[in-house]
């Protein structure tokens, strides 16, 4: 069996550089779009295989086929979806077609998640990328999606492993003739450098203080340590995820391909609602469009505008539980989602209470620095605590932590 490419950073960097050079050679020149799309699709598919499947059994844990066979099926699955996307794009109506195109992507996701030992690299993101494309063509009948462009989009190696879940419309901008300026290039390189610092160094430092490291020293730990470790894991997740996204977005910018942002200073969040506008933005916006908005719309249409508040609360809890479970079908992820759903609901109730106060008083409070600081502190503590369910999605780990908790300050 051949050695995987991930043996050291230099090799990975060289491989990514090679990919970027090849991608630029295809996308920059003024060739016919059809040719560019086909070549880029071939490059992307080959790159995905080389980076994520060749000699890497961990990409396809427990699936009964060889990595190559699994990869071929993965590609066939993605390309097959294009027929449904095209059909949705060309027909104005088609409730069944539309639902079918969405289920084609979502059902396999649910099936894979049901078995917690199954793993297929980037599939969580792939399923949502495919579903989002269906929403996109439904919303914009003028959007042209050719098969090679769609294949290139689905198997774009930079976003395959961990997203961001970037829409087809943005990706397709890469096929348009455009000159890269020095400013764009330096900006992109800076982005990559910052991302690398976050991902490689800052995340690793934060990780030293998480439960996994701080609490496994055989001693008892109190509330102060609890807060420290909760924050440490939250910050670790941020640097790890946002850092990698920075690298992805910067590298894609070198190809002239815009990628949707995933983070916007989440540590500045002043409410749960604000948090999800700043954290994993591509995911929260997508689930909002797929689940929250249609659900809320259906309920308000059925039960009237006065039902908007309870309907929002219900829709929010369901949406966040789905976001939680998307990470994996484990109780920890469910609690994470539920916590955020309830936090969001509390947000909504608070807003409604504020509406009952005289306008001027409410406005004064909302613009006061105290409300911002309080909101910020509460949100940060709440989110940090919720992350424990992500660090320990299974109860055994959480039990271990509880055992080491002294209950004192």
């Amino acid at each position: 069996m051949m050695e995987p490419l991930y043996t050291d950073t230099a090799v990975v960097a060289a491989a990514v550089l090679l990919y970027l050079l090849a991608g630029s050679a295809i996308l920059r020149p003024l060739w016919a779009p059809k040719l560019k799309e086909t070549l880029f699709a071939c490059l992307n598919i080959a790159a995905c295989y080389a980076f994520f499947f060749h000699g890497l059994p961990f990409s396809v844990a427990k699936l009964a086929f060889t990595p190559l066979a699994t990869f071929v099926m993965y590609v066939a699955f993605g390309v097959g979806h294009w027929y449904l996307v095209r059909a949705v794009s060309e027909r104005d109506r088609g409730g069944w077609l539309y639902a079918g195109a969405l289920l084609y992507a979502i059902v396999p996701l649910v099936v894979i998640k049901l078995d917690t030992t199954l793993r297929l690299v980037g599939f969580s993101y792939m399923a949502f990328r495919m579903a989002q494309a269906v929403l996109e063509v439904r919303r914009d009948p003028m959007l042209k999606v050719t098969m090679p462009a769609y294949a290139a989009f689905l198997f774009f190696p930079l976003t395959l492993p961990i997203g961001p879940i970037s829409p087809f419309g943005m990706f397709a901008v890469g096929f348009q003739p455009d000159r890269l300026t020095l400013q764009t290039v330096t900006h992109a390189l800076g982005r990559i450098a910052i991302g690398y610092i976050k991902f490689r160094f800052l995340a690793t430092i934060a990780y030293q203080l998480t439960f996994a490291n701080l609490w496994t020293d055989g001693y008892q730990h109190g509330v102060a340590d609890f807060l420290v470790s909760s924050f440490a894991f939250f910050i670790y997740m941020y640097f790890n995820f946002a850092g990698f996204c920075d690298i992805v977005i910067g590298a894609a910018a070198l190809l002239g391909i815009p990628v949707k942002e995933n983070f916007n200073n989440p540590l500045l969040s002043t409410s749960i609602k604000d948090f999800w506008n700043r954290w994993h933005i591509s995911l929260s916006e997508f689930v909002r469009d797929l689940v929250f908005t249609p659900l809320l719309l259906g309920m308000v249409r059925r039960f009237g505008l006065n039902a908007a508040l309870p309907a929002s609360i219900l829709a929010a809890i369901l949406t966040f539980v789905i976001i939680g479970l998307w990470h994996g079908f484990q109780w920890g992820f469910f609690y994470f989602g539920l916590m955020h759903g309830l936090g969001f609901a509390a947000n909504l109730l608070w807003s409604r209470i504020m509406e009952l106060l005289p306008k001027d008083a409410a406005r004064a409070w909302n613009s006061s620095w105290m409300s911002h600081v309080l909101g910020w502190a509460l949100t940060l503590v709440f989110v940090a605590c919720s992350m424990i369910f992500v660090e320990y999605a299974d109860s055994a780990g959480r039990a271990q932590i509880l055992a080491a908790f002294s209950g004192k300050w």
Partner: protein
């Protein structure tokens, strides 16, 4: 109905739903420009618009209505 009439009526709906008499809409206005126009009030706005104009939006159309110009265009299209 003319686009200007649609815009005027739309402004009334916004003022009513957002409970904000000072709302002024132009074709370039987006959700960012209007206080209180977020994803939650968006749904209430959409339903109120449906009731006021006697039209119905597709679920897929809703997320594309984040700018007033688009809103007016889609309403005009649906009114025939």
């Amino acid at each position: 109905m003319s686009p200007d009439a649609i815009l005027a009526k739309l402004t009334d709906v916004f003022r009513d739903v957002l409970d904000e008499d000072g709302v002024v809409l132009s074709r370039g206005t987006t959700a960012k420009d209007v206080a209180g126009w977020d994803s939650l009030s968006h749904v209430r706005l959409v339903v109120a618009v449906e009731q006021e104009f006697g039209i119905r939006f597709d679920t897929a159309e809703i997320s594309g209505l984040a700018n007033v110009g688009e809103f007016v265009n889609v309403i005009a299209r649906k009114l025939g």
